[in-house]
């Protein structure tokens, strides 16, 4: 009620104010083509979702239902280490537990290593339908980011269109496999990152375009989250800790059309009913340039060329943040380029790597 009152007062006092206007891409956000120009270490992924570093600097890559192991010089060699029943949405390696795979509609399972076979599937009576990230803290606790309570992880776009706020962070006891919700009502937590001291966990709330944090208290009850960064220009997808910086990769840009559509409930539901999903106005990891994909004014070719500044359905964006969450540098792949949809980025063996769904490749962003 009070909120509504202040809204009304603000509306009267400054009717033209912009609420959470998409911030301009300037300063450290200034677009470039660094992602597009980056060398591609390995290519040909079908449906990449995540990757992580294992022992001896090998890389594990989640590609559809397969988990690949990349090894050798510049990770040129690869092999399939596991095939599971559904799409692998997230991967994590922990020395005591092994390789944790977040499986769409199923939950988290250890598929390699000391605890192979251990499964973490439900909490508070609800299956982990959209497990996007797993994180072992201390020696006995496993945190899982579950994007949505009702919608499978591969159907995330439905949750986006519904402005889903049912995401949760779940804590499991590694030994017993018992889980409980420690934070609920989240706008799609899509990854997890531990603070330096291990006392706080950070996670992006993609649909809210913000990064939130949660103190890891020993008690039983739920915790209140705090907002660390708000109103980002794109939907944050994955957080990773580098040696001196933090890496945030983004699903795609927020566009004015998308924000407008999120306020047009009737049209949005008509679109969801009458238009095939691939041709919705929706954020996407990649564009297939199909003739039925929606076109926005700025995207029209002039003299056969696409304008780099055109609003884009999918976009490549990776930001490097200082420890205080200020943006220091960004990597882009713009409209008309390929290296869109950076599903994950991390530092391994002194190099910075990013996995692009648009280019279906592992990008090498150079030595640190």
């Amino acid at each position: 009620m009070r909120n509504m009152l202040t809204e009304i007062i603000a509306e009267v006092l400054s009717p033209n104010r912009e609420q959470n206007a998409i911030p301009p891409m300037d300063g450290a956000w200034t677009p470039n083509s660094l992602l597009e120009e980056a060398p591609r270490l390995s290519e040909g992924y079908q449906d990449p979702h995540d990757f992580c570093v294992g022992p001896n600097n090998v890389l594990f890559v989640a590609d559809g239902v397969n988990v690949l192991r990349l090894f050798g010089k510049d990770w040129r060699s690869r092999e399939v280490v596991a095939t599971v029943e559904a799409t692998v949405l997230g991967l994590a390696w922990h020395d005591q537990a092994g390789l944790l795979a977040c499986i769409d509609g199923v939950g988290v399972r250890v598929i390699q290593g000391p605890m192979t076979g251990a499964a973490f599937l439900e909490a508070n009576g609800a299956t982990l339908l959209a497990p996007r990230a797993a994180l072992v803290t201390g020696s006995d606790k496993l945190l899982v980011a579950d994007g949505s309570r009702g919608i499978h992880g591969s159907d995330w776009v439905l949750d986006f269109m519904a402005k889903g706020r049912s995401g949760r962070v779940v804590a499991f006891d590694l030994a017993t496999g018992k889980g409980r919700e420690i934070c609920t009502g989240l706008g799609y937590p899509s990854s997890l990152m531990l603070s330096q001291d291990g006392g706080t966990v950070f996670f992006p709330e993609a649909w809210r375009a913000q990064i939130s944090s949660l103190p890891l208290a020993p008690g039983e009850g739920q915790q209140d989250k705090q907002t660390v960064v708000r109103n980002l220009p794109a939907y944050p997808w994955r957080l990773a800790r580098g040696r001196q910086s933090l890496l945030v990769s983004f699903l795609s840009m927020r566009t004015q059309l998308m924000e407008f559509l999120l306020g047009e409930d009737a049209f949005r539901s008509d679109m969801m009913r009458q238009v095939p999903r691939d041709f919705w106005v929706a954020p996407a990891f990649r564009s297939r340039a199909h003739v039925y994909e929606p076109i926005q004014g700025g995207q029209l070719l002039q003299h056969g060329k696409a304008k780099a500044w055109a609003p884009s359905r999918s976009y490549g964006l990776l930001a490097e943040l200082r420890p205080n969450f200020e943006v220091s540098r960004t990597f882009h792949a713009r409209h008309g380029e390929e290296a869109h949809g950076i599903v994950a980025a991390l530092e391994a063996d002194g190099r910075r790597l990013a996995l692009s769904a648009g280019a279906e490749a592992l990008l090498d962003l150079g030595a640190l």
Partner: protein, 713 residues
């Protein structure tokens, strides 16, 4: 919400209600609507409060009082319109009142002479203001404030010295009495004079060069001066006129009241300024009309007079006048600031358009299935053309195209590497066609239908048609001529894509989808332009059928082609030629084998069809987000289709990877080749048609073969 269901022949032949509002607000007279409403309401209120307010007696007495004030309102209004302000009107009024009475009573000057002298004196006082404000460009507000005090001081001095001479005297010559109390046809003399002045003022402002200059100077003094208007002299002239009008009003007042006092004309400036601003004459200058000044005067008069009659005290009445002035100024400022915004937001009014089911392009068995036949196109004029919308070839094989710079370019046969400017019509040339005498007839967007003789000389055929009687907005000027074709009898059929938007706003017409297009016909015999069809959803390509009996006209937003019979038993009727294309068709032209080529400039998508069904959504989208973010039709993909005389699709040519022709707006077959143009492209394409007649050309098809010597060497 109004609806254009997909019924090819039930066109919108009436105005969409929202469109009427938008177009009405764009009319010049829309500015008067608000003062008019205020006037009517005010009169209604006081008429209901006061018994007998509208009785003849009371109206007569009101008219007496009203006319003198109203003349001063005209004076003030004109000064405000020229960009100034005249606060000294009350003082001039008082001074003139004194002078008129003194001349007549004390000096016994004949009435006629006294009137002329007084008016001249008023003009002189106005000239002082005019010299200072108009010529020396001092601030009108300060200058007239000062002259107001000075003139008032003069009146006081004169009253002190000569007041007693006038106290007892009186004048009762017939002329003087007629001025004060007479009437003609039941109207008081001063009202007649006022009406005469008002009509004169209206004619001055709207029908004369001087009036146009006054408005121009008021709108922007600097711009007026740059346009060669003597701004200073015009402004001074208006101040002189203002002084003279005030003096005339004072003479009428003197003849009626016949006495002098310190309070004559006091606070008159505030009263008339209120009337002027309330009437919607902008304080910024350059906007207003006599009618609105009169309405403002009426409102102020009715309010002040009505309050007196209601027994409200003088102070309160003055306060009320002040409050009204403040309100009027506030409204003036806000209205000026937001008017264009309001107009823009009401002008576009999308209509529901339900498209038939989208033909599936992705199906391999579809007649439209994607191929790569345009891959090996030969490129002509790369980066030498900016938007070749249409292409055509003459008998000698030279290639012509209209480009964005407003030129018609010619690439010379046989290798098309030499480029020259053939003609420069100025607007953007779109459709092209050769007539019987090898004149190149072209639809020029923003201009109309023009022709170019073989030597490059340009001549106008037509730039207007008959106005549609039921449209509020004048649509007689041809705003966006698009494509044409010529019948054997010489009649030129051409399309006007939309009557509401210019070429650069094609997308707004698309999002409106209200059927704004027309098929027009220009008959060189009568030199008349008539409307053949209207209510078309972006009338685009036009082509005469091979037998010459019908005209094919494309509706881009309707994704269809209509056939209109111009000869034969079905003459005057229209029927669908192609009902449901998967994209937005553009130009249509003859092929050598008795069929037709159709350019498909873009592809309909499921989302676009849904957008067309949701007019409210489109309205909000246009208002809330910038154009580059709007949902657009997909003009990044297109193809060329070949159709037979029954409208069956025979063949399609795609540029699958959009290398050369992402969107195709025209194609022209000539001697076994197909030449391809695009509105947003930077090249012309040419592809060999293996199965086509290598001798066929459009000219022969339309006008018959001609001996070789007639064609250009």
């Amino acid at each position: 919400m109004s609806e254009t269901a997909y019924q090819p022949f039930k066109r919108i032949t009436r105005s969409v209600p929202k469109q009427v509002i938008g177009e009405a607000l764009n009319k010049p007279w829309a500015d008067s609507l608000i003062p008019f409403t205020v006037t009517v309401i005010t009169i209604a209120i006081f008429a209901s409060l006061l018994e007998g307010y509208l009785s003849t007696v009371n109206l007569g007495s009101l008219a007496h009082q009203f006319s003198e004030t109203a003349i001063v309102v005209l004076a003030m209004g004109l000064v405000v319109m020229v960009g100034g302000i005249d606060l000294s009107v009350g003082s001039i009024f008082a001074l003139a009142n004194f002078v008129a009475l003194y001349l007549i009573i004390a000096l016994e000057v004949p009435v006629g002479g006294a009137v002329v002298l007084t008016v001249l004196m008023g003009a002189g006082l106005g000239a002082v203001n005019g010299l200072l404000c108009g010529i020396l460009r001092m601030r009108a507000f300060i200058v007239t404030l000062v002259t107001m005090i000075i003139f008032r001081g003069i009146v006081s001095l004169l009253l002190l010295k000569f007041g007693s001479e006038l106290a007892l005297g009186a004048e009762d010559t017939p002329l003087w009495s007629f001025l004060g109390y007479g009437s003609v046809l039941g109207l008081p003399t001063n009202t007649i004079i006022f009406l005469f002045l008002a009509v004169g003022g209206h004619v001055l402002l709207t029908r004369t060069r001087l009036g146009a200059h006054i408005i121009a100077v008021g709108g922007s003094r600097l711009a007026a001066r740059r346009a060669g208007i003597p701004a200073g002299r015009i402004a001074m002239g208006v101040y002189v006129l203002s002084g003279a009008l005030c003096a005339l009003a004072a003479v009428l007042y003197a003849s009626r009241i016949g006495s002098v006092s310190y309070t004559t004309g006091k606070h008159l400036e505030i009263l008339v300024l209120t009337a002027v601003i309330l009437g919607g004459v902008s304080l910024g200058g350059g906007r207003g009309s006599i009618a609105r000044m009169v309405m403002g005067a009426l409102v102020v008069m009715v309010i002040t007079n009505g309050m007196v009659r209601l027994g409200i005290r003088g102070g309160v009445t003055e306060m009320a006048t002040g409050a009204i002035l403040l309100f009027a100024i506030l409204f003036d400022v806000k209205w000026l600031k937001h008017k264009d915004k309001l107009l823009n937001s009401t002008f576009v009014c999308p209509v529901k358009l339900t498209m038939p089911p989208l033909p599936d392009l992705t199906d391999k068995n579809s007649p439209y299935a994607v191929n790569d036949r345009l891959r090996d196109v030969e490129v002509i004029g790369l980066d030498q053309v900016d938007g070749p919308e249409d292409v055509i070839l003459d008998r000698a094989g030279n290639l012509y195209t209209g480009v964005r710079q407003g030129e018609i370019l010619r690439f010379l046969a046989p290798d098309y590497t030499r480029r020259e400017v053939f003609a420069r019509p100025g607007g953007r040339p779109l459709g092209l066609a050769f007539d019987r005498d090898d004149n190149l007839i072209t639809c020029v967007a923003g201009m109309g239908l023009y022709g170019v003789r073989p030597d490059g000389e340009i001549f106008k055929l037509t730039d207007q048609s008959r106005r549609t009687w039921w449209r509020l907005r004048d649509d007689s000027r041809i705003l966006m001529a698009d494509d044409l074709d010529i019948a054997p009898d010489g009649r030129i059929f051409f399309s006007e894509a939309t009557v509401r938007y210019a070429l650069s706003d094609w997308i707004v017409d698309g999002l409106e989808a209200a059927g704004n297009g027309k098929l027009l016909c220009y008959d060189p015999a009568t030199q008349k332009t008539t409307t053949v069809l209207q209510g078309l959803l972006f009338a685009n390509g036009v082509c005469l059928s091979h037998d010459g009996h019908s005209i094919l006209v494309v509706e881009s937003w309707g994704s269809c082609v209509q056939r209109h019979w111009i000869n034969g038993p079905k003459k005057g009727t229209t029927e669908p030629f192609i009902a449901n294309l998967p994209g937005f068709a553009d130009n249509i032209n003859r092929a050598s084998d008795g069929t037709y080529w159709i350019a498909i400039a873009g592809i309909r998508s499921p989302l676009w069809d849904l957008t067309m069904k949701s007019p409210g959504f489109r309205t909000r989208m246009i208002k809330r987000i910038p154009r580059d973010e709007w949902i657009f039709p997909n003009l990044n993909a297109g193809f060329i289709a070949k159709v037979d005389e029954t409208g069956q699709i025979l063949d399609v040519l795609w540029d699958r990877f959009a290398t050369h022709h992402p969107s195709v707006t025209s194609m022209r077959e000539h001697r076994g080749y197909l030449y391809i143009g695009g509105l947003a492209n930077n090249r012309i394409g040419r592809i060999k048609l293996p199965a086509a007649d290598p001798t066929w050309m459009g000219q022969d098809s339309y006008w018959g073969t001609r001996p070789a010597e007639a064609s250009e060497a």
